[in-house]
Symmetry: C2
Subunit: 410 residues, 2 copies
Amino acid sequence: MSVNWEDFYSSLAGRKSSGALAEIFKLTERPDIISFAGGFPAEDMYLVDEAREIMEDIMARKQTDALGYSPTPGFSELREYIAGRQTGLNMKASMNNIVVTSGSSQGVDLVCQAFIDRGERVMVEAPTFLGTISTLSNHEAKIEPISMDEEGLNTDELEEKLKQWEKENNLPKALYTIPTFQNPSGRTLSLERRKTLLNLASKYNFIIFEDYAYGELRFKGETLPTLKELDQEGRVIFLGSFSKILSPGARIGFIQADEKVVDKIILIKQSLDQCSNSPGQYLILEFGKRGLIERQIERTVDILKDKSSLTMELLEENFKDIATWTKPEGGFFTWLILPEEFDSEKALPLCVDQAKVAYVAGSTFFLGGEGKNNLRLCFSEPLLSEIREGMPKLKEFLVDVMEGKVKITS
Amino acid sequence: MSVNWEDFYSSLAGRKSSGALAEIFKLTERPDIISFAGGFPAEDMYLVDEAREIMEDIMARKQTDALGYSPTPGFSELREYIAGRQTGLNMKASMNNIVVTSGSSQGVDLVCQAFIDRGERVMVEAPTFLGTISTLSNHEAKIEPISMDEEGLNTDELEEKLKQWEKENNLPKALYTIPTFQNPSGRTLSLERRKTLLNLASKYNFIIFEDYAYGELRFKGETLPTLKELDQEGRVIFLGSFSKILSPGARIGFIQADEKVVDKIILIKQSLDQCSNSPGQYLILEFGKRGLIERQIERTVDILKDKSSLTMELLEENFKDIATWTKPEGGFFTWLILPEEFDSEKALPLCVDQAKVAYVAGSTFFLGGEGKNNLRLCFSEPLLSEIREGMPKLKEFLVDVMEGKVKITS
């Protein structure tokens, strides 16, 4: 008699039933579809020749080091390099403030493990990164969404809620935020609000997880200080990533935090995957030492500038009567706001099928119910020619839906 | 005012205060120490030229694929290769039975996430792999140790306990086992006990996590069928690893399980690290396709054979009056049993300091208190010359302790 697995699942496994991210990945694989869904770097952003040369070199010079285990917090050389780089970005760090993570996805998991007990409350922007919603849910955190506008997280709303929670003696422990070129909205928290946010964190004693995955990809406007840079009390735990500025496949990110916190995180990481992969760590280190991370950022920013300009132009041309959208100064995304009654979730399969265009439905990035009239569009991955072809197709489809020419049934 | 991190830690972080594995890593880094502590492949086991050639080739042919994200369950090509390889090892699998993991450490974390709720009971061998004790503790599983003898897990004891638990209506959910060339003991579960174990799993309805990290490294005796191979009811979830047979730094392992279970695990892995690193996956795949995994296993087994023979010889020569030990047929380890009163934990710092030899104290692999008179010795990593030099030094130190010439104070 075969075992019945349903009898054995954990409550977590029992709750798991769909993989929105996996569905997004699948959509982007169909060759006939123009995809604004992804969220990946474009192929021409990579410095492939340099990567090949570096890998050859690593395997020739480092040999058994590159094949063997690394220390749980990462190779010391890499931690030192990252600390130096962060210091150069005005976020002073020593090696002991840095732990290498297997992508910043693992970084989010690690800070949840280190700080969040079941039922504890974590504030997030609404909308926010799907992966974080999922990780917080796995840890059974109670997620408190705070709304956003074009200046990022709504700090007025945040303050009101904090006041209320303080009265109830029920203040949340932490805020997870992507203040710069947010995923999914493309919005950036203004300098004034950054300061307000840190003041509120101090006043109401919560900690901040600052996710900076897209932060260095600015193609317009002035650089803003990170929360970590502005932080006077060491309240900000910084989640860094090389996935968008070098290689997502290397699966190397890092956490910058107080040394004591880093020590705890190292102990927790040991039981997750023991250490991050060695070739990926050397790849990042060598790219860095040769100045190639900066070169790839430049190249990526140039490409994003062209793609975002074209996207903005086509949005203006096609969508100005039916939508508003974010005008990002960096990163991969813009965020469309359509009339209230539009249901982007239900429309998506039809859009893929009929218009051959994919997006991500806004509701994916909210906790439940909201965001149906929103779309996330990624302009990083599609070619300029695909953006030019896809935008009018998308517009035509959306108008057909709004005018009832395409019927959406559930 | 600086934030007080103690106020923010999760209960897990609060419990974390030492890293035994990290300490082991540190000991092995000191160049003046002969280390039997490690548990890593030796440097001369790696096929470094082949690895370099493959990495060059991957970066030339796969380019953006090797730098980009992989699907959460792993590249399809790799999953198919692993399924084929497992089928060849008499554990029939299709791609849909395989999920690639970031080392089999993550495999253990994933099965815990998928099956074990806080407070649920998981049986383990005593002693067992330290990483698993730590992962189970993170998940707040209640660990039920079952003792071992030279034939592996004591199935008589297991049966008695199961009978008792059945009476109490309190049967455990799962057993984690390393039946072949166990870490730390070097012991192998006999064929008869393998069958008994599966019968007990069926009778008392528990599932089995079979960790096979060392299973292919047999240097003596006849190959035994895995639990997965003998399993008639699909109760065994198989944890595979390429860390000991190819490269630990690649951080690539896999789980083989029922397709439904694999689907759940994929959903959970998404929130851990999204996907395993791409260069590591291609490295394994290309090694495999070129027949080099088999070649590296042969080479590794040849080296292990020499090192274990010498180790056994020197143990016989030096230790026969003061200890007994496992005579492993494969893997990396032997396990010394010293007189009851010996405290290997307290003796370790002195042994490193005075004899310049490192081992791992047996108590590291038990839940608490036991195993003080045991040592784990790894013969995989030290050179033959180091084994020859280190064994008599270790013996001399142990005798000095037993005779009171070296005083151990706490």
